[in-house]
Every structure is written in C-alpha cells, then in structure tokens.
C-alpha cells in the first residue's frame, strides 16, 4: 500500500517535472530558431555574392495548401519541369487541404523540420501570413530576385515585412460582381460605373420582379466580397495607407466617412431588398446555384469561383463580370484585387540558393515552368507569357490593375479574426438584432486592438 502511494507520488513528480522542462524547452526552441535565423541572415549576405548552386544530387521539399487536382501543377507538372531544368535536383511536393496545411506547417516549424519551400499568404492573411512567419524569423528574404522585380509594386507590397520581400507574388485574384447579361439586356441595363447607377440597376430589376442580387450569407465570409469592393473605393482610394495607420493608431475603424460609410452602403442593399431577405439561411454554394439557375441577376464573388459560376445551370445565359462600383459619381472606380498566396523559402533550409534558383526559373515570365504555370489558369498572371490571354471576364479588372487602380483585400491588412468579427456583427445588423453600423465599427476596432499586439 505504502509502496503504491510512493509510486504515485513519484509519478506525479515526474509529470510535473516533465511539464516544466517541456515549457522551458519550448522557450529554448523559440530563442534557438531566432538565433539561427539571424545567423542565416548574416551568412546570407556573404553567400549572395557567391550564389553557387550545388552540382550534387539533392532533394528539395515543398509544401503547399489546396487539393491536388488531376494533372496538378504543383504536385505533378512542377517537379517534372524542375527535373528538366536542374537534373540534379529532385523536388518533392506535398499538398494538404488548408486546415491540415496550417497544422502541419505549425508543427514542422516548431520542430525545425520545415520543408525548404512553403506557401505563404500576403500580409496578415491566415495562419501562414508572410508577416507572421517573417516576424518569427522563419522566412528567407528574397529581395533582389528578378522574379520579385517582375511582379510589380502591388505584388511586392503584399509580401513585404520591414523592407524585405519574403515571397514571390504569384498572380492576382479579384473580387467582383458576376451578372446575367441576358437579364441586363432584357431590361435595357448596362454595366454601372458608380454607386448611384448601381442602385438604379438594382431598383429597375426589383421593379421588374427580378431578384437583383443573391448572396449566401450563411457562410459569412461571402460578406467580404461586397464589402471589400466598396471599401476599395470609399476607404483606400482616399487613404491608401489606412491599414498601416490603423496599426499606428492614426486611423480607426470608427473614423467618420470610412468604414461606417462602407457598411452603411452595403447594408442599404439589404434594407431595400436588393439582396434577398433569406440570405442568412442560404449557403455560399446554394447562392451560386441560384445565380447559375437564373434566379437572380447578380452575385458578388471572386475570380477563384469562376468555374462554379460559369457552370451550366437550369437556364442558359451569358455571364459578365464587373467591379462593384462603390465610387461616388464623378470619381474614379477602384477594384478589389489581391495577390494570391506565393512560395517562400524556409530560413532554416540547407538549400537556400537552389530554392532561389528554382523560384527564379519558375517566375521568369518565359520558361517552360512559367508557361505551364500560366496555363494552369488558377491565377491571372500579370507579366510575361500568358498575360495577353486573360479570360475576357477579367479584362476590366486587369485594366484597372495596370492603371494602379486596385487595392488588396482588406482582411490581408488586418490580423486574422478582425474580419470574422465584422461578419458576425454585420449579420446581426441585417438579421434584425438591433446592431447599428456604429456598433459594428466599434466591435471591429475593439477586436483589432485585441488581436494586434506589437
């Protein structure tokens, strides 16, 4: 009996000890990783002049998020083409669904076993945001690569942390308004160019007994599709560094004439019944189905859903795509366009130079790899091969982008979680919970301050 008790005591002691050592170990790992990244950075400046790519047979690993399709670019085509370009390099690519990718990435980073190349998202977006990872010292700076130069200012801006670029911009995706060209023609409507015209279009459709817009707000993220397009015109067109100032405290979501106006404008679409009243009970896929079946004239969605939206439905009609004109009459129209996630190099990799060489080839605008990448059609490329063969649906957006009249998606500038607060509060407002626009901006500001720790 006594012995058992002693045994139990000893066990508890071991447990407590192991937990304590575990904690201190975690701290060690943290300081270690930063110190290695620092030494990496210093040794890197030396290496840059040398920049030698090894001749030995090596294997480079890469981890991407997404689901591998048939003849997938990253998992099948890319390794093959890399082998052709660099016969001594074998590229091994794993592709995991988003949630699994985040978990795998965190575990691998924490244990120091990260793949040489990983997929990171622009600015603050998601668990693999470039700023989050660069700040923790996990990424190798890529400033100065030709591929980075080619991508243009907007592309570079998306992956900058403290004056260095940490990932290669890989083409743009956009938010816009898909519309049913046949319904527009039957009602004598043309593509609106400012907010008043847009409201007019909605009113005409509504009076003709047609549901103007369908949204699947049960999946709350779709609210961003409309809101960011308006914000690009009402907030960022007037103050491009609104988000930067948000972090320094110069601006607030609660500032008059900024987000309150955006939310007010978007909410008016619900108040007037231009977006169907049942939106909170409808899922995103169900909303797309309704649009495809011709039950509504418009829907806000991204270029990434173009395939689903152009799929065959109950009725045949021609689709069009325009940037939601959130601008006042007489001012310029801006589009909400974002850099897609791009590849970055793990700072602890043994083959940094080789990875850089691969990225240079991949994004040079003319190699076979780049051609295959552009042809995969998942991103809209902005330079080199394929830039002139853009899907005609996207042309109005590309024109605005090339004129510099586009802004990134707002959530990329906020710590993850701010936008979900916005969505939750906005659905309260349209769900008749008595939440006012000022409650929403207050909630957003509070959440932002809670999440942004620096």
């Amino acid at each position: 009996m006594k012995r058992k008790r002693i045994g139990a005591l000893a066990l508890t002691a071991v447990l407590v000890l192991s937990s304590l050592t575990g904690c201190s170990k975690a701290n060690d790992a943290g300081s270690n990783s930063t110190s290695t990244s620092e030494s990496q950075a210093t040794s890197d400046s030396k290496e840059e002049s040398a920049g030698e790519v090894t001749k030995d047979n090596i294997t480079i690993t890469m981890m991407y998020s997404g689901t591998a399709a048939e003849n997938d670019f990253e998992t099948e085509i890319l390794p093959k083409l890399v082998k052709e370009e660099f016969p001594n390099i074998t590229l091994e690519v794993t592709k995991l669904p988003d949630d699994q990718y985040y978990t795998a990435l965190k575990t691998k980073l924490a244990s120091g076993e990260c793949p040489d190349m990983i997929l990171v998202q622009p600015k603050y977006a998601g668990a693999n945001s470039v700023i989050g990872l660069a700040k923790a010292g996990y990424l190798e700076p890529l400033t100065g690569l030709k591929a980075i130069e080619l991508a243009g200012v907007a592309g570079r801006e998306s992956f900058v942390y403290e004056n260095d670029v940490y990932a290669v911009p890989s083409g743009v995706t956009m938010l816009g308004t898909y519309y049913n060209k046949n319904i527009f023609e039957e009602n004598g409507l043309s593509v609106p160019t400012n907010w008043d015209e847009f409201l007019n279009v909605c009113k005409t459709l509504k009076d003709a007994g047609i549901q103007p817009i369908v949204m699947g707000d049960k999946d709350m993220y779709v609210m961003q599709f409309g809101l960011y397009q308006i914000a690009a015109n009402q907030v960022y067109a007037k103050n491009a560094s609104f988000d930067d100032q948000l972090r320094s405290g110069e601006t607030k979501f609660t500032d008059e004439g900024t987000w309150d106006k955006v939310l007010e404008m978007y909410k008016s679409l619900y108040d007037n019944g231009y977006i169907q009243t049942s939106s909170l009970g409808l899922g995103a896929q169900q909303a797309i189905q309704k649009f495809v079946d011709g039950e509504a004239a418009m829907t806000f969605d991204g270029s990434f859903n173009a395939a689903a939206i152009t799929a065959k439905g109950a009725v045949e009609f021609e689709r069009g795509y325009f940037p939601l004109p959130g601008n006042d009459a007489g001012t310029d129209l801006y589009a909400a366009m974002a850099m897609g996630a791009g590849p970055a190099i793990y700072s602890g990799s043994k083959y940094i130079e080789e990875c850089k060489a691969i990225l240079e080839k991949w994004f040079d605008g003319e190699s076979d790899i780049y051609k295959a990448y552009a042809d995969s059609g998942r991103f809209v490329v902005t330079y080199g091969y394929g830039a002139d063969k853009v899907n005609p649906l996207f042309q109005p957006f590309i024109d605005l982008y090339n004129d510099g009249k586009s802004f990134y998606w707002c959530n990329q500038g906020w710590p993850a979680g701010t936008e979900t607060e916005m969505e939750a509060l906005f659905s309260e407002a349209i769900g008749g919970q008595g939440t006012s626009v000022s409650d929403i901006v207050n909630g957003m500001q509070m959440k932002f301050q809670e999440l942004y720790t620096e």
Partner: protein
C-alpha cells in the same frame, strides 16, 4: 537477513511487483500524448501564444478577463446548455417512445427498428450537408412543402434566424442520435421481466400505470446512461454549428467547442483559446459532478 525476508514478503504469485514495468510503455504514451498536453494547456492559457511565434509573453489572467468582458464566454455557455438540454430531452423522449412502440409485437418490427437507427449510421458531415438543403430558404424541402400546402414557404428561414438557428441544428442532432438512444432503451425494456408486468395487469394496472410504476423504475439505470451520453454529446456540440451554420447567424450558434476552434484557428490566439478550454473544462467537470450525484441519488430512490 532482514532484507531477504522483506523481499520474500513482497513476491506475489498472482501479480509480482516487477509486472508493473509492463505498464510503463502505456503510461508513457498516455503521459506524452495526453497528460502533458493537458498540463501545457494550463500553461499556455496565461500567455499570448499565437501558435507560430514562440517568443510569446506572459499576460497573466488577461485572457480570462477578456473572455468574460466581451461576453464570448457567457454566450457560448448559454448556447451549449440550451443545446444540451434540448438534446437530452428530445433524444430521450423520442428514443423512449419509439423503443416502447417497437418493443410490442407488431409486423415488420425489425424493419422499423432498422429504419429508426439508420440516421445514426451517417457521418455528421453528410447529415449536416443534407439537412442544410432541407432547411434551405425558398427552395429547400421544408420550404417547398410549405408552399405546396398553400403556406408562404419563402418566409421559412430557420437557420437564417437568430431565434431559431440553435433549435434548428439541435433538431438535426436529435434526428441523428435518437436511434442510438432507442437501441439502448430497447435493450433495457427487454430486461423487464414479463411476469412482473403480468402481476401488474392482474392487480388492475392500465397501460400507463404499467409504464410509470413498473417499466420506468426497472429501466432507471438505462435512463441514467442515456441521459449521461446525451449530456456529453450536448456539451461536445461542434459538428452542426461548424457544418450547417458556421456559428452564425452572428454568434447565435457558437457553442463552447466551436468557439474554442474559432479562437484558436481563425483568430490565431492559442493562448486565449487555451484559457477558454480551461474554463470549459471547469464548466463540464461541474456539470458532470452534478449529474452523477443527482442521477445516483435518483436511481437509489426508485
């Protein structure tokens, strides 16, 4: 000399002491993958760890304070409790009634029993997906049916309404889980001795009195197990909030587990999520203790 004696005393033929060594591998795995992470949870709950950057700071009880101040905690606890109560009552009543009916001699009994159990066989993902089409406004199953019988189906929007969304997903959980509850009740009812029922009938009991005075007291242990299983399922509620409503509209279907998931993986605040887990842990422990005491007492009384 004395030492030897001691050694002899401790050797048991049935379970020699050194056999404890064989428990070590299992114990080790248990500690590494369960006990240690749980202890770490308490530790992380007082940091601002974000899951990526290991240079986190200690923030004391700030996480806990924020959780209570912003109302996330009360909202989630409230939702979870409502959900659990609905599940316990709904699933048990439905399961018991169906079990009673399927326990009498009727034609095709096996077929009906199978039918009642089929929903339990599907995965939550499938069930959630199917039901979101049943609940779909305007053109979903229920809305179309309402339109068919002349009511205004377009007004039907269960999941899109703040007041009804939680009940909507609870109904789905009941639909899926009452089969399992029923099977357990059925097993319980079959242990009730026929002679006791006969004796009751001779004494002039009607059917209702037989159920109330004979059957229910005899299956009280079955009731206990069913209630506890359903309470656990209710407190763990995550699936349908995640699949069918995504916690929405607003935060009206945010349950404890869903909120933890959201804070940890959407907001990237592992520290705050750990704090939330600690509080949920305490809440669930309290409820479990209460249930055990209450149920044991009742079982003895009956």
């Amino acid at each position: 000399m004395e030492k030897k004696k001691n050694n002899k005393k401790n050797i048991s033929l049935v379970f020699p002491n050194r056999m404890y060594l064989f428990a070590v591998p299992a114990l080790l795995l248990f500690c590494v993958f369960w006990v240690f992470p749980v202890l770490q949870l308490f530790y992380y709950s007082i940091t601002n760890f974000n899951g990526i950057n290991y240079q986190y700071d200690f923030v004391g009880f700030k996480n806990y304070i924020t959780l209570f101040r912003e109302g996330t905690m009360t909202n989630s606890i409230k939702n979870t409790l409502i959900y659990a109560v609905i599940i316990v009552i709904g699933s048990n009543l439905l399961g018991l009634c169906v079990a009673m009916v399927l326990n009498i001699k009727i034609r095709g009994k096996a077929f009906f029993r199978t039918c009642a159990y089929v929903p339990a066989l599907f995965s939550a993902i499938v069930v959630g997906f199917i039901w979101s089409y049943v609940y779909m406004p305007d053109s979903g199953l229920i809305a179309s049916f309402l339109t068919l019988i002349g009511l205004d189906g377009s007004k039907f929007n269960l999941l899109g309404n703040y007041k009804t969304a939680l009940y909507g997903i609870a109904a789905v959980e009941i639909w899926k889980s009452f089969g399992t509850t029923m099977i357990i009740y059925l097993a319980g009812l079959q242990t009730v001795d026929e002679s006791l029922l006969e004796a009751g009938r001779i004494d002039g009991c009607n059917e209702w009195q037989l159920i109330k005075k004979v059957k229910l007291p005899l299956i009280s242990s079955t009731i206990t197990i069913n209630v506890i299983l359903n309470v656990i399922a209710g407190l763990k509620a995550f699936d349908y909030s995640f699949i069918m409503t995504n916690g929405g509209p607003g935060k009206s279907t945010n349950t404890l587990m869903f909120t933890i998931y959201k804070i940890a993986f959407t907001d990237q605040m592992m520290g705050k999520a750990s704090a939330f887990s600690v509080v949920s842990f305490i809440v669930i422990i309290l409820i479990t203790i209460f249930m055990l005491i209450f149920m044991n007492k009742r079982e003895v009384e009956l």
